[in-house]
Each structure stands twice: as C-alpha cells, then as structure tokens.
Assembly symmetry: C2
Homo-oligomer: 143 residues x 2
C-alpha cells in the first residue's frame, strides 16, 4: 500500500468510526480502489432503513478540483440507483471535510464528474442530521 492509499484509508477509518459513534451500521467496501467488476462506494452507512453511500477523494492542496472518472462515477451511481440509497462524494483536503451529493457535481463534456473547489457540501454533523430527519420522516409514515 502506498502512502496516498494509506492516508486515504486513515481518513475513511476516521469517518467510519464517527458514523458508528452516531449509531450507524457501517461497512467499508473491500478492495477499495483496486480494479473490480462491480464498483462499490468506499463507505456504506445504514441507519434505520436509510442508506448512505460515500465515495472518498483526498487532495493535498486546498484549492484544486476533484475529479471522479466517468467509468468509476457511472459504476457507483448505478450501485446507488439499485440500492435506493443516496450517494455522496466525500472530499478531504487540508482542514476540510465535506460531503457533496453526487447529483450536485459538474459533469464535463467527456463524462467525468468534478467537484469544483467552491462547491458547497455538508459536514459530517450535517450529514448525520440529514439522515436523522429522513428516519423521522419514515417513522411518521407509520403513525
């Protein structure tokens, strides 16, 4: 494992730990980043029937854009569509951790997906609150 992957893993482990502390059932996709037939987002977080999928990307500089290659993006979007879950791009930069709904990303002419540096996202607390609001709404349907 090279330094970049190792750092990526540490960020993921940290997020997974925090989501577990907030009562989520969480699984990290196996063999993340390696060549595989069935693209799976890096983190699958479940809570009371709500499905959150997160693909993580890190950058060392604060200003740069983050690209998700077309092939990978389409694979994980298809996974999300089948699952009925909500897909986020998790962006980690120095001093920044934000979660961008995948459908807010900019699509380039060649079909890649881009998070421009100014794009807004949720922080981890916001993401947790969003899920808890969905859970309450789902419960309301039964009352």
């Amino acid at each position: 494992m090279n330094a970049k992957k190792r750092k990526g893993s540490a960020v993921e482990r940290n997020i997974v730990g925090k989501l577990r502390d907030k009562g989520f059932a969480v699984v990290r996709a196996p063999a993340s980043g390696s060549k595989r037939k069935d693209p799976i987002p890096d983190i699958i977080a479940l809570k009371s029937g709500v499905i959150i999928l997160i693909e993580m990307k890190s950058r060392k500089d604060k200003e740069g854009k983050i690209y998700v290659r077309r092939e990978q993006a389409e694979g994980i979007m298809e996974f999300a569509r089948k699952s009925g879950g909500t897909l986020f791009l998790g962006v980690k930069k120095p001093g920044v951790l934000k979660f961008i709904p995948f459908d807010k990303l900019r699509r380039t002419e060649t079909g890649n997906y881009v998070a421009d540096s100014e794009i807004e996202g949720l922080d981890l607390e916001d993401l947790v609150r969003l899920v808890e609001a969905k859970v309450s709404k789902t419960l309301d349907n039964f009352l």
Copy 2:
C-alpha cells in the same frame, strides 16, 4: 486461507453473483470471519431501499445443526438493528441452500443460536420475491 474458508468464500461469491443478477447492490463484508471489533454480516444486499443482511454458515453433512456463537450472533443482530435491515442465517449443506430469518433460530441456555436441521428457510428465489414484495409495499406508500 484454509480449505474451509475457501469453500465458504466460493458459496458466498455464488450468492452475491445471483443477487447481483436479480438487481441487488451487494457488498461482501471485508475480513469476514477474522477477529474484529465491529461484527458485520457476510453479505449486505440492498434493493430500492430494502436492506438484507446474510451471515453464511456451511456444513459438510446434511443432518447436523448449525450454531452461531452468542458473541457473533449478538454483534450481527446489533448491526441489523441499527441498519433497519432484516438479518438471515444462510445455511449451506450438500444439496441445500436456505435462508432462515435470524429471529426463527433457537436460542440455547448459554445464549448461542442454533438452526436445527429440520428448520425451514427460504430458498434464494423466495428471498428475492420477499424483497420485491417489500419494495412494492414501500412504493405503495407513496401512491
């Protein structure tokens, strides 16, 4: 990896492949069977918001009972409770593959969980149909 684990993995891969063919988004838990802090069922299968969790156990003889140790059972039941998903024990014996809802298992005095050989379960087709019925019911709530 020893022969038993290798065979277990082949069974799991087969089930995962079939669920994918039926339109599920599926992930196998990483490091299955190894010692870990957060027990995760072997297979997580998602379809249109329905969450199915499967712990697989194999036996070489057709008649024997299948035990799930208390510690493991409680861990994956807790994962299932948090997720809002439905937990099954997947039982693989020669010529037999059945999925038993975890709450149908017999609990021993020491807290282990047992699938007696005569216990009924769903086959894979039944399991898929069950999920599709749940998906339809969920959609009905929006109509």
